[in-house]
Symmetry: C2
Subunit: 342 residues, 2 copies
């Protein structure tokens, strides 16, 4: 990890050609221990949309990672059970399958690990423990049958398998064929003049030192090895206080290692036009301002408005095609509610 | 209306043959001033699922009327913005198109009228006024275009048209082909022995005095003319206190007419197996107990357990086929959030 940190300081970016911006593959990496199947994806989709995974039956994964839109809730921070607010802005689930670490601080290595977190987080879905989740799902005949069919074995309905099914569904949430991807594959008319200028600028300015690779979230490291950067890299800018950028210590909160203070997983640029507000605390309302802030805090550069507009035009060209999906039908529970609300 | 009230007292039910239980038509009544079109339904579906119709971007119509399951949230009362609880249990949106009055107290005559309520209710979706809704939707290009295409005219994006689009979508939420419907159309094997006994019992006991017609929610009155019944009809039962049945004055809260005290719109039996907990306050957790309570409070009858089980078996035969739906794609808003969460 130290190597990458070193490589990413801006002086390096200026001295070496930037890493490649790449077209999005149709399929993300699939872990050996969680192969895809249609049945597993269908089960995962049900779980993703099922508010019965929350203590009071009000919040599903989709509540904060809305796959009918941006894969986020477009809020600064999310609202969980009992109206509680979370501490960080919900990252998009679209193309999260390409990330090599999950959460803003990379505390989960895989989508499977990530899926286990919010369900048990008291300010998110608020289930008291894994057993309570499994007890509840076990009472729903449709889930019991599907877990048996998908995972087999003596004890198929486990918390690990809940996470595996959700992760399998999430690996279908890929948005290929953005204007940039079409351009990259040879359709030179796919980008506007402004977007083309912006594409060159993000290289020249140095943004692609971090925002590179298929997901513009850093190089394709082995799964679990996150790609982090210090934010702000240049401290003391006007933005630091204005947007409260340093209160949250980032990855340090997980590792308690001083060198992880204010280190953050580099977020994707894909569909970034749709995922406002921006940054870990959702403090910046607009994409143009996010571009200004990043140029200043990460590269110590002040962009003029033409540059900002061109970069935003390029970022807008990273909005992909969202696959049409069928709505899941959640497994029935008969003659009573599986969530006790009395 | 007085005529129906008179007809519904239990002595009448015993003296006359019960009104017919009818199979569900494929299509509900369509009002002349809101004809159906595929484009309107698609727009209405987007609006139904769009949390941007709530003040803080967290609650959509679907949050409390989940069409991926029962058309309810299976909670005693719903949770709206800022964790606030509503006053009554969310009725199912499935087959609501057949009801001749909406809400538990019938305060909306049509689906169009109903749709306008929760968006502006401070404990539900919490938008401050109609203008705020229209201002927000107007900033979303995809909505602006669609309202123009669907409604035309000089000012197509109005609160009335928002309600019309949502109502048009809701008129597609029909669940035909329940075992009962198949039985009614000639497939005598569609019902189990218990369900068949239950079907006879609900006539003999008197339940179908109110729960009749295609939706088991009363006769097909002209749209806007609700079909109400006093609940409890027989006061002083053990259930009245246990389930807090009389605190809420029902339709009286709307009309302030003494004769409307504890009058309630008769709710549908269709998919009732899936819509627990039961009654206007969601106080009864299970369907078997709901059957016991209704027999006692409405007909002054104490059912034995075999009778309860048979009636529940019949009610379970009213679970229909839920149509497969595509997921809506919510119209994009670029480079900022349309909901200000700062």
């Amino acid at each position: 990890m130290m190597l990458f940190r070193y490589l990413l300081i801006s002086s390096w970016v200026l001295a070496f050609p930037a890493m490649a911006m790449e077209a999005l593959p149709d399929k993300p990496p699939i872990p050996d221990d969680n192969p895809m199947s249609d049945q597993k994806v269908a089960l995962g989709k049900q779980l993703f949309f099922d508010p019965r995974l929350s203590v009071d039956g009000t919040i599903s994964c989709n509540s904060c990672h809305n796959v009918m839109s941006s894969g986020t809730d477009n809020r600064s921070v999310s609202v969980g059970v009992k109206g509680q607010k979370g501490g960080r802005s919900a990252p998009t689930v679209w193309n999260a399958a390409f990330l090599t670490a999950q959460f803003w601080d990379g505390r989960a290595a895989t989508l499977e690990d990530q899926a286990k977190g919010p369900v048990l987080n008291p300010v998110e879905m608020g289930m008291p423990n894994e057993k309570a989740v499994i007890d509840r799902l076990s009472t729903i005949p449709g889930y019991k049958e599907q877990f048996k069919a998908v995972f087999g074995g003596k004890d198929p309905l486990t918390y690990d398998n809940v996470a595996k099914a959700i992760a399998a569904y999430e690996r279908t949430l890929i948005t290929p064929d953005s204007p940039f991807d079409r351009y990259k594959r040879g359709d030179k008319k796919a980008l506007s003049g402004a977007a083309e200028r912006g594409m060159k600028l993000v290289d020249e300015v140095g943004c692609t030192g971090c925002h590179n690779g298929v997901n513009f979230a850093g190089p394709s490291l082995p799964m679990g090895q996150g790609f982090y950067q210090k934010f702000p890299t240049f401290s003391g800018t006007e933005y630091e206080k204005k947007y409260d950028l340093v209160a949250d210590m980032g990855r340090y909160e997980v590792t308690k290692d001083d060198s992880d203070k204010h280190m953050w997983r580099v977020p994707t640029w894909r569909n970034v036009a749709l995922t406002a507000p921006y940054f870990h605390n959702g403090s910046v309302a607009t994409l143009d301002e996010a571009v200004r802030v990043m140029a200043k805090t990460q590269l110590n550069k002040t962009l003029d408005e033409d540059q900002v507009n061109d970069i935003v035009a390029f970022l807008n060209s990273l909005t992909g095609e969202f696959p049409e999906q069928t709505m899941p039908r959640l497994p029935d529970y008969m003659n009573a509610s599986v969530v006790d609300t009395h």
